[in-house]
């Protein structure tokens, strides 16, 4: 990978590439000029000037190459990540039908082409986007919806579309692929990651303007040195006019080459860091905007609460003892492996009731798995058919069997719904025994996370389909700043627009097609990879893990990107002071020898001083590549604290470091015989 980057650094010497970065183009032009000066000097037998210009030219070329290398290595890292993305995709296998026959062949998922038919059976991951043409299955799209309840996918109608990466839980389906091989969404993303289409972001452009303007001033400062030197000679009657090589050396040292050389690497690295977190930014602009986000719209389920619901209470129907309900609930969940089922068992065991041992029960009975048709699950032993399920199903079952239930019971069930819980009804032989209340559990640690976001000045808004009362309860528990209950795509959209009109930047995550308009409206829109095509096209980032909590990390990465730019700019400008102290006394030594008093570093000779400054200026670029790639550390503190800390590190540090560095290089040069 490094070899590739080194070769790439030379390829980038192409003037067209160099012109894109004005600061580095100045170095490039300076390197060419010094090379020419050196050749002329040698051909005029001026060995002293020739060799000095040669050394300067050498280090200027090195500066250009180091900057090229920084960009090259950042981009090659992106490519490496793209490759690993490809590999995972290629490792995914598919069972494809050969032609119109029933014969199956095993192929790589990436070989699935438009209109290919493939079979997916329970426990397998769907290899490509497509439509179900035969069969019906439960598909786990929990990562999308956050709901552990699987969704039905069946041929025909609205529920026929399946997305790559989701898992079939029950039954089997035959799917017809809906996109061409190599044109799937992942493929598009891989292309993006490979960095071919990276555009400069608005902030990067503003920074480039500032840097170019500063470079322009230095160009004038340095160009003016020649007449200044001539005027001074005329006034003082002694000395030699400053040489073009020294003027160029000073210019390059003063120009903000450190940040100029690393600025594109920082941008690329920002996208790469997101990629490492399995988020693909479709544009650099989005990463940058992420740093600026003021408002986060977070889906309640999956982000704020654990996607799964937990059993919290049993409510028996009139006429039944609580123990009876607990026992029945326990039995019904014996072979239910979902988190909800387990939570029912745990709750039942914690009720201090003697329950029959699990193994014995399982030996004597048959478990009834949840199926798409019945939408109930349970356990059958002897003559007991214990079932649990959603209220409409259990009510229906009871009604069909001719049983009724009390009004009080119905009230309890509705109350559970009303406070945002899920009522799970339990029946024995179609007779309703009672209801289990399932509840959302707020993730541990999420409160602190929101508190630190608040410190960063970011407002969190919880979005939920729950009624306002429940929403308020959960919002208070989680510590979000605001919530929107009974969310519909329309009111989500309105909320985003409202915040944007206030001048805020809004970030959200989304998955469903109905999220697409809101995603398109949001400034930072993270679409879940498991979400629908429409959602993915509307978003400007894709989260491959489909983890809604990622949004928080995306924001941090965006901030880190800006901070890294700011830190290196500050560092670069602070460096100039030391370089002046090295070069100015050296440049005018022949006219005003008294200026040697400014040489506070006691450098060994004027030429060595200038060369040391140029070398320092060059080697600082590769020295800072790791920082550019890694990004400056970010912590969630208020702006004022962050500012003070970064100024101390990069401003004051940038002021002092070059004094030490230039002195050290000068001593090294002296060790190798020095320059005079």
């Amino acid at each position: 990978m490094n070899n590739e980057a080194i070769i790439d650094s030379f390829v980038r010497l192409n003037p067209k590439t160099q012109l894109k970065n004005p600061v580095m183009f100045v170095v490039y032009a300076g390197a060419i000029a010094c090379s020419v000066i050196s050749i002329f000097a040698f051909s005029n037998n001026d060995v002293s000037e020739g060799s000095f210009s040669f050394f300067i030219a050498f280090w200027l070329w090195a500066t250009v190459l180091f900057a090229n290398f920084a960009t090259a290595i950042a981009e090659s890292k992106g490519r490496a990540q793209a490759n690993s993305l490809k590999r995972t995709r290629n490792q995914l296998k598919a069972k494809r039908y050969i032609g119109n026959s029933d014969t199956l062949e095993e192929v790589s998922a990436s070989d699935i082409d438009l209109d290919d038919k493939f079979l997916v059976i329970a426990g397998e991951v769907i290899p490509a986007d497509g439509e179900v043409i035969s069969g019906m299955a439960f598909v786990d799209e929990s990562a999308i919806t956050g709901e552990s309840a699987p969704v039905i996918r069946e041929s025909g109608g609205d529920r026929s579309s399946v997305t790559a990466g989701t898992m079939v839980l029950s039954d089997s389906i035959i799917v017809k692929a809906s996109c061409k091989s190599g044109e799937g969404f992942i493929d598009k993303m891989i292309k993006l990651v490979e960095g071919a289409k990276r555009q400069k972001t608005p902030n990067e452009i503003a920074l480039t303007i500032l840097l170019s303007a500063i470079t322009l001033v230095f160009l004038v400062v340095c160009a003016a040195l020649v007449p200044f030197s001539e005027i001074s000679i005329a006034l003082s009657g002694q000395g030699k006019v400053i040489t073009p090589t020294i003027v160029i050396a000073l210019l390059i040292c003063l120009a903000p080459t450190t940040i100029g050389g690393l600025v594109s690497a920082i941008g690329v690295a920002g996208m790469n860091r997101l990629l490492k977190k399995n988020v693909i930014a479709l544009s650099g602009r989005a990463v940058e905007a992420a740093g600026d986000v003021d408002v986060l719209l977070l889906d309640k389920t999956g982000t704020i609460t654990l996607g799964n619901r937990y059993a919290v209470e049993f409510y028996p129907e009139q006429g039944y003892a609580r123990n009876v309900l607990v026992e029945a609930s326990y039995i019904s969940s014996l072979s239910d492996d979902t988190p909800e089922g387990k939570s029912i068992i745990d709750l039942a065991l914690s009720q201090h009731i003697t329950l029959p041992p699990k193994d014995e029960l399982i030996k004597n009975g048959v478990s009834v798995a949840f199926s798409a048709q019945t939408r109930v699950s349970g356990f059958t032993m002897d003559s007991r058919e214990i079932r649990k399920g959603a209220k409409d199903r259990i009510y229906k079952m009871a009604k069909e069997a001719g049983y009724s239930w009390s009004q009080e019971f119905e009230k309890i069930v509705d109350a559970i719904s009303a406070r945002g819980g899920t009522p799970l009804l339990v029946s024995e032989n179609s007779k309703i025994l009672g209801v289990i209340e399932l509840k959302d559990i707020v993730k541990t640690g999420i409160r602190d996370r929101f508190a630190s976001l608040r410190k960063m000045g970011i407002k969190t808004v919880m979005v939920t389909g729950d009624n306002p009362l429940t929403a308020a309860a959960i919002a208070a528990e989680a510590g979000v700043d605001d919530f929107i209950a009974e969310a519909t795509p329309e009111n989500k959209m309105d909320l985003i627009k409202k915040y944007q009109n206030e001048g805020r930047l809004v970030a959200m995550t989304g998955d469903g097609t109905n999220d697409a308009p809101a995603l398109a409206q949001a400034d930072v829109a993270v679409a879940m990879n498991s979400g629908t095509q429409a959602a993915k096209e509307a978003g400007n980032m894709i989260d491959l893990d489909s983890n809604p909590t990622k949004l928080l990390e995306v924001v941090e990465t965006g901030k880190q990107l800006l901070i890294t730019r700011g830190a290196l700019t500050t560092f670069s400008l602070a460096n100039d002071i030391a370089k002046y102290f090295a070069i100015v006394p050296a440049a005018f030594a022949s006219t005003y020898p008294v200026l040697v008093a400014l040489d506070i570093m006691y450098l060994s000779s004027p030429k060595s001083a200038i060369l040391s400054a140029v070398i320092f200026n060059a080697v600082i670029i590769p020295a800072l590549i790791p920082l550019a790639l890694r990004g400056v550390k970010y912590s969630a503190d208020g702006a004022e604290v962050l500012l003070r800390r970064n100024i101390l590190t990069y401003g004051v540090g940038g002021l002092i470091l070059p004094f030490v560095g230039i002195k050290a290089i000068d001593m090294l040069i002296s060790l190798f015989g020095g320059l005079s």
């Binding site: 230095f218 160009a223 007449p227 009657g237 003021d294 800006l562």
Partner: protein, 551 residues
């Protein structure tokens, strides 16, 4: 406490309450109260009588109106000078001014530089002094205030396409602020002994000559011009030697009054700004920061002037080292340029102080209006860098700073530096500097550098020894003064227009506060860093080499 610190303290203790009062006047000029008294009707009536409209303007219309007004001003001042012989109020019968000098003087006064390549009392008629120069003293100061007003509107308005009306701003700032203040100051100056008359130069008994010989004493409408020259940070004195002349600045009291007048409007602008942006703390922080810098500059200047011996060369004994050094710092930090002593005679380091003060871009106090709108460019650059350091796309007063604002503020910050350097280089290289400037060696370079620094920052003060009357310097200087005044003005207006169109981002904990000591320290660092990086080599060849050679 020695006399220096006592005077400095007295100056700022008196300045604070006065600037609070003047801030009220500035606010009146920014948005005059709407009632029907004649005071409020007057400005509108004047503008209507001129056939102009008082409608809101977009930035380009505003800029066009400003440029036309100022170009017309240049033409008028130029014409009055080259025809003064034929015009009234010329009791001394001064002849017409040469065209290149007339051009230089007109650009100089219109651009609020007031670089004087002439000596007023021996070459300009009363009419020229009053109609051409004094009126420009008002107009150029009012132009500066207008641009500041436009920028303030840009920063405070939400999604608006206009930034005010130039003619209203111009007339209002004269009517509510400059005119009443100059009137008061002029009366006080008359009281201290500054002449105000249309009579011929009287002959008086010479005090120095032993024999009974009489001398001609130049007088005229001095007080009225001196008042606005100080208040409007113009600096173009009635007399060639400016406020060092005993009739322009006769007593310690007049000296204090003139000193206060230099600082009054720039200082009050900070407070008015704080009130207008509804963050008084920011106004006071800026005020405090600039006062602090003033004290540092004055301290350096005073101590290097009074170190080994009290250097009284080139100073009026009635002002002494203390009065002269404080004035030197006041006149160079603001873009005033009036002087009460010879800066050329200052010791190398003390002489470098006013030079560096100007090279910072005339933003520490700075010129009337111009100092502050110039400062805002530096604030924007500081906000940009520090915004990056805290991980947010930078914003100032809730306005996002994009690449356009960055471009415009770069023009404002860097153009004066470039013009100074280019001017010094061309003026020095083609002006036979070694043959024409008074001193040899580094001090000669300082004289050259000071002159172009002064013109390129619209200051107008001068180091003696510079051949200001040479054709090359007159013409080149005119271009530099014009460029460094009007290009940043256009850039500032463009920025104001762009800011006005933007939304206002609400404040949050992540927003970088701009009214804290940390921010002020950073702002000062940015101002100094930019100044130092632009001028370090030049300063090394001038004052530093001068200092090292002497000591």
């Amino acid at each position: 406490m020695n006399g220096f610190y006592f005077q400095l303290l007295a100056l700022f203790v008196i300045l604070l309450p006065l600037s609070i009062l003047v801030a009220v006047l500035i606010k009146c000029a920014y948005s005059p109260a709407i009632n029907n008294s004649w005071i409020n009707r007057f400005p509108k009536t004047i503008i209507r009588l001129c056939g102009l409209s008082t409608n809101e303007m977009s930035w380009d219309v505003y800029a066009k109106a400003l440029m036309i007004t100022n170009l017309a001003g240049i033409a008028l001042v130029y014409l009055i000078q080259i025809f003064q012989e034929y015009l009234p109020l010329n009791p001394q019968g001064f002849s017409n001014v040469a065209s290149s000098l007339a051009l230089n003087t007109s650009v100089s006064f219109v651009s609020n530089t007031n670089w004087q390549a002439y000596s007023g009392e021996s070459s300009l008629s009363y009419l020229t002094q009053m109609l051409a120069l004094t009126s420009q003293n008002f107009l150029s100061a009012a132009t500066g205030i207008s641009v500041l007003f436009a920028l303030m509107r840009g920063l405070t308005r939400k999604e608006s396409s206009s930034i005010g009306n130039f003619y209203s701003d111009l007339v209002n700032s004269i009517w509510y602020c400059l005119l009443p203040l100059s009137f008061i100051v002029a009366i006080f100056l008359c009281y201290t002994g500054v002449p105000q008359t249309f009579s011929e130069y009287p002959a008086v008994q010479s005090v120095q000559s032993i024999e009974n010989v009489s001398e001609i004493l130049p007088v005229g409408p001095v007080a009225s011009q001196v008042a606005i020259k100080q208040l409007g940070t113009n600096g173009g004195g009635y007399y060639g030697i400016n406020s060092a002349h005993p009739l322009e600045n006769p007593t310690p009291l007049s000296n204090l009054l003139e000193l206060l007048s230099i600082l009054l409007i720039p200082a009050a602008s900070y407070l008015a700004y704080g009130a207008i942006i509804k963050n008084r703390k920011e106004g006071y922080m800026l005020y405090g920061t600039m006062t602090f810098l003033f004290i540092v500059f004055a301290g350096i200047c005073y101590h290097s002037e009074s170190g080994v011996i009290n250097n009284l060369e080139g100073k009026e004994v009635r002002h002494g080292v203390v009065g002269t050094t404080i004035w030197a710092v006041a006149t160079s930090l603001t873009s005033s340029g009036s002087i009460n002593g010879a800066h050329d005679s200052l010791s190398p380091i003390a002489g470098a102080v006013p030079m560096v003060a100007m090279q910072l871009g005339e933003v520490v106090f700075g010129g009337v209006g111009s100092g502050f709108y110039g400062l805002i460019s530096f604030i924007i650059a500081t906000v940009f860098i520090s915004g990056l350091l805290v991980g947010r796309t930078p914003e100032y007063l809730g306005k996002k700073i994009g690449s356009f604002e960055m471009q415009m503020s770069a023009v404002c910050m860097l153009l004066p530096c470039i013009l100074v350097l280019v001017g010094t280089a061309i003026g020095g290289k083609f002006g036979d500097i070694a043959g024409t400037v008074l001193n040899k060696g580094p001090h000669g370079f300082s004289e050259l550098l000071y002159a172009y620094t002064s013109m390129g920052n619209n200051n107008g003060s001068a180091f003696g020894g510079f051949p200001a009357g040479l054709q090359l310097h007159l013409i080149l200087g005119s271009f530099i003064m014009f460029g460094s005044r009007f290009l940043p003005i256009i850039a500032t207006l463009a920025m104001a227009g762009s800011f006005a169109k933007k939304k206002v981002v609400p404040k949050s904990a992540g927003t970088l506060p701009t009214d804290t000591i940390t921010f002020m320290a950073l702002l000062v660092t940015v101002i100094f860093l930019l100044g130092a990086l632009s001028f370090f080599p030049a300063i090394a060849l001038g004052p530093i080499a001068d200092f090292l050679t002497v000591f």
